[in-house]
Structures are given as C-alpha cells and as structure tokens.
C-alpha cells in the first residue's frame, strides 16, 4: 500500500485506502449506489494485501459477517448506502450489545424508501440514535472532504477497538463521488495484541470465551446497560469539530459533511461582503460536540443550522445551546442539490433576526 503519497481519488476510494492503511483485513460488501467503488476497489486491493473480500448475499448477511470477524478481534468493515444501512441495523444492534468492534460506512443517499441515488443527510437520526433496536450508541464520524474520508476511516478502526463498539463513517453521494487530491499519511501497524483480552481464537489451554448480547439472569441486562452507558459517556472526549471564522461572528452556521463544505463557501462569500458569519462543522456526530457549541452560545452568538434533510441535527444544536440561544433552521430537500448561493439568503436572514 502506497504511503505518504499524494493521489487524486474519489471519496469512496479514500475510504478504501484509509481502511487498508488502518489494517482492515476483511471486507464484506453488497452492491448499492453511490458506494459501489468501495467494494469494487476492495475486491482486489484487500485480497492483494492478504485479506478477505466477500460479496455477501445481502446487506443483512454482510453486516453479520462483520459481526463474526469483529468477534475474532480482526479489523473488518462493510460499506453501503441508506437503504442498505437500514438492513444492517440488526447486526449493528447485536454488535453494540455484544461489544464487537466494527466499521460501517454509509454514503447517505436520498430517502425515504428507495429515494434516489443523490446526496442526502436523511440518515442523521438513524446514525446518531443507534439505528437498530435497543438503547445503544455508535460513534459517528462525518468527513467533509476526501482527505477526511481517508483520515476518519483510519481513525474509525482505532476508535472501534478502543471502545469495542461499532463506528459509523457517515458521508454522502457528494463525498463518495467527488475527486480531490489526498495525502495518504502513514499509519502505524496494528499491534498483534489488539483485542487479546477478549477476542475469539479457539480456547487453547485457557477458559472458553463467549461474546453475546443475551442477558437473561436477573439484573444481568441492567448491569450490561449500565456498563454501556458508562462507556458511551466516556466517548465524550472524542468530540471533534471545525470552527471557521467564529471568533468575531455574530451568526454561526452549523452544518456537517458536504453541506458544511458548501456552507463554508457561502460564508467566505458573505465575509467578502462584510457579513460577520462563521461556520461550526461537527466532525463527530456522536459524540456531538455540544460543549464547544455551548461556549459559542454563551458568548452571545446566533445560530443557523443547515442540513440536507427536513431538520435532524438541529435538535442536537438546540439541546447544546439551550438556555443561551436557539437555532434557526434551513433545510434542503433530499432530491435537491444545493449550491453555495442557495445558502446566502437564509444566512443573511438569520443574521438579521433578533436573538
């Protein structure tokens, strides 16, 4: 695998490069647009790297294969797009309950239902609220550039093993299909001891190990949920965001992923016109970088949340700034493709609004 190299690649390819750099050994895929470049690339590249590629019979099966590989303490992943990610939710819930590390990539497309194959942020709730049955959380990383698609995929594997938890990389059709120059920064080799304390490898001479999510004994499930709650709380330190020209801004636009990128261009244009506006772009959607946002609220900023959906992240923004501020909302319908100019008027309007 080429390292330290500058390449011109798609976001989907950057995810695959990142996974290989992070030592991913098993890829379980299923075709769905707009993420097909990932399994297509991996079907050769991961095998060349000595790993395994399986085109599964379904998204359900692919996610369950991931569960099996993850239980062995092997770095493994699957990728899909919205309707396919819905099908993976069964296994994601089991992996969260069984504390199995895994990386799942969602190149978000339009919904609901079959929707379209264009970009959307309609899966924000699904990604940040667990997505499947039961009360659980997955870490969610939201790259805004092709470089970040590489970097955050690498980080996703580290976080999955650090917390023994599924990690979602949430992009969209724009990110997946857009080409940009990327620096393939080198990544340290995975320690052979990773997961040594719990991974399945045959019992040998030790006591047998069991990885499961069924807890029937009295108090056992409550205890497991308490442990998981503590684990989720400990993830708060991973919260990350980009803050762009917020210091003197009167209005802070909150937007993530590709929409954050488009909003940034709009903000640059408005700055050139003398408007005091800035951008707050969450990079982790779970944990949500609420404390950093609260600081801005305490400093008296106004907020506008822009999303490619009918309003989902805006709930988290309002929770974060509550007591000090509120957030206006501007939504782009999944199915529409926004340009920076589309955001200028709503931003100016929100800037004029009384706090």
């Amino acid at each position: 695998m080429a390292q330290n190299k500058r390449v011109f690649i798609k976001g989907n390819e950057a995810v695959a490069y990142g996974a290989l750099a992070a030592g991913c050994r098993c890829f379980f895929g299923y075709p769905i647009t707009p993420q097909n470049d990932i399994p297509e690339f991996m079907s050769k590249a991961i095998v060349d790297a000595g790993g395994e590629f399986v085109q599964a019979e379904s998204e359900v099966a692919a996610a369950n294969m991931l569960l099996g590989a993850g239980a062995c303490g092997i770095r493994a992943m699957t990728s899909s797009s919205s309707p396919g990610v819905s099908l993976k939710q069964e296994a994601i819930s089991y992996m969260a309950g069984s504390e199995i590390p895994a990386v799942i990539v969602n190149m978000n497309r339009g919904g609901p239902g079959l929707g379209d194959i264009g970009p959307s942020q309609g899966d924000y709730y699904q990604a940040t609220r667990g997505g499947g049955h039961g009360d659980y959380r997955t870490l969610v990383l939201a790259p805004g550039t092709v470089q970040e698609a590489y970097d955050l995929t690498v980080q996703a594997f580290d976080l999955a093993f650090k917390y023994r938890n599924p990690v979602l990389v949430l992009g969209d059709a724009i990110l997946g299909q857009m080409k940009e120059p990327v620096t393939l920064t080198p990544v340290a080799k995975v320690s052979k001891a990773e997961g040594k304390a719990w991974r399945l490898e045959g019992k040998g001479k030790r006591k047998p190990r069991l990885i499961k999510s069924l807890f029937l004994d009295e108090g056992a499930l409550a205890g497991q949920n308490r442990r998981l709650e503590q684990k989720y709380a400990s993830m708060a330190v991973e919260a990350a965001c980009e803050q762009f020209q917020v210091k003197d801004a009167d209005l802070v636009v909150v937007a993530y992923g590709s929409i954050g990128r488009i909003a940034k261009t709009a903000i640059r244009k408005l700055r050139a016109k003398g408007k005091k506006v800035g951008l707050f772009r969450p990079i982790t959607l779970y944990p949500f970088p609420g404390p950093a946002l609260a600081k801005l609220a305490k400093a008296g900023k106004k907020f506008l949340t822009i999303e490619h959906n009918l309003g989902q992240m805006v709930d988290d923004v309002r929770l974060a700034v509550r007591g000090f501020a509120d957030s206006a909302f501007f939504g782009v319908y999944p199915g529409d493709m926004p340009a920076p100019e589309d955001f200028e008027e709503p931003i100016v309007k929100a800037l004029r609004r009384k706090a």
Binding site: A56, V60, A61, M65, Y94, K203
Partner: protein, 259 residues
C-alpha cells in the same frame, strides 16, 4: 465402597472434557443434549476443541455455550452461517461450526444458509430439525409436517394454506459449494451412531479444506409435540423419517472438494 472395589472398575462411559458437568435447561426427552454430546465427543476425538469457534443461533440451543466449553459467539436469528463466514474468513485456521434449529435455518435464515453453502464456505453446520419453534412455544416451522398441530396452525398444517414442509438437506445437497450433506435421526442408538458418522465426515470436509459440510438431525420436542418422550421417539420413526428420509445426499469428500 472399598478402594479395592474401585480399582476393579472399568470405565466404559465418560463425559468428554468440553461437555460441561451441569444439568441442562432442556425438557425431558429433548434431543439437543444428544446432539450436543455428539458434537463434543467428536471435537475431542478429532483434536479440534482447542481451535474451535462455535456460532450459536436463536432458539433453545442458544444456550449451547452453557454446555459446550468452547470459544463462542451468538448470532442473530438465522444469521449463524453469515456470522460463521465472518469468523472463518477472519480465522481460516480455526475450526468453525454453527448449530441451528429449523425455524432459524429453514425460515428466517434461508438466504444465509443457501449462500454459505453455495460459496463453499469451509464451515460445518449442525441442523437440528424438530418440526417446531421450540423456545417460543411450539409455533409452526417451515419443517412442520402436514396435519401436525402447532400453536399457529391449531387445525394442523394445511398444504393449501401453509405449503409443504421444506427438505433442507436435499436443497443444500443441490448447491455447488456443498461437499457433504446428510440426514440422520436421534431417536435410537443405531441412528445416533449414524449421526455421529455423518457429523465426523462433515467436520472432516472442513479440516481438509474441501468445502461446506451439512448434517440434519431429526430430533424430538416432546413438550411442544405434547407427547411423552417414548411417543416422541416413535413419531420420528413413523412420521418424520418417511417424509425426511435418512442418508447421505451428497458426498464429494473423496473427490478433493469443490474447487
């Protein structure tokens, strides 16, 4: 008993070391215990226990891990062959088997079992067919026989409404990746011995890297059949075996596998 008397004893029956020394949660007359023991005996006899990773499925046998002392992972309902595929691809040098019931394998998990077999995954599947969903209280399974009464076909399974019971071993045998597929029954000593022989071949096709091995075990569920254990054993002979014939349906173990 004096020490001398103990000395004269000859040990003729023992518990394999991977079979836990504990009472099971299974009902009297249930055949899961027999199936568990056969698997445990073979893993010890074949020297596989230390490198085995076991995938347990949903149903009464989810607690297999309480009775077989092996590394284990629990699969969602029907997904054991997919989970086992992930395990085997991640750890190709380990011995991997999944243990599934008929609701799990032949209904909700039909896609997963068909494709794992068709890909020729180096896996062994132990398929326990007792013609009902046992753990959930005896509902109709895809293997429920025509006329058999269950809690969801109280008038008896009807061909026109519910279709015919599905013959899994025959289907699995028809797939390209399958190296060994056989059906045995656990209702008498002769059949149990045959079951062990079949399981051994199914395990060997994996250890030799030949492909997919599948053994169906016709088993009793006296509680949900509302019969005593003796009657339940008789039912296997008189009702199940005539519809689900015993024997080897495919065996390429002597031919070097599938590819």
């Amino acid at each position: 008993m004096s020490p001398a008397a103990v000395k004269d004893e000859i040990l003729v029956f023992d518990r394999p070391e991977v079979v836990a020394d504990r009472a099971t949660h299974y009902c009297p007359g249930c055949h899961h215990g027999v199936a568990h023991r056969l698997v445990g005996e073979l893993l010890v006899e074949m020297g596989l226990a230390e490198k085995t990773i076991m995938v347990t499925a949903i149903g009464c046998s989810v607690f297999l891990y309480n009775y077989l002392l092996l590394d284990a992972v629990e699969a969602p309902h029907g997904r054991a062959p997919a989970v086992a595929t992930g395990v085997k691809r991640a750890r190709p040098d380990n011995f991997v088997f999944a243990y599934q019931g008929d609701g799990d394998l032949a209904s909700i998990g039909l896609a997963e079992i068909i494709h794992a077999a068709n890909r020729g995954e180096r896996l062994s599947i132990v398929f326990v067919n007792n013609t009902v969903y046992g753990m959930t209280g005896g509902q109709m399974a895809p293997t429920t026989l025509i006329g058999q009464k269950t809690t969801t076909c109280p008038g008896g399974r009807c061909r026109e409404r519910e279709g015919m019971p599905i013959k899994m071993t025959e289907i699995i045998a028809s797939l390209g990746g399958t190296v060994f597929a056989a059906r045995a029954a656990l209702n008498n000593v002769k059949n149990i011995r045959q079951a062990k022989k079949f399981l051994k071949t199914a395990f060997e096709v994996q250890t030799k890297g030949l492909g997919f091995g599948f053994v169906e075990l016709l088993s009793a569920c006296p509680t949900n059949w509302k019969m005593n254990p003796v009657k339940a054993n008789q039912r296997i002979e008189t009702e199940m075996i005539p519809y689900f014939p015993l024997g080897v349906f495919k065996d390429l173990s002597g031919e070097g596998g599938v590819c």
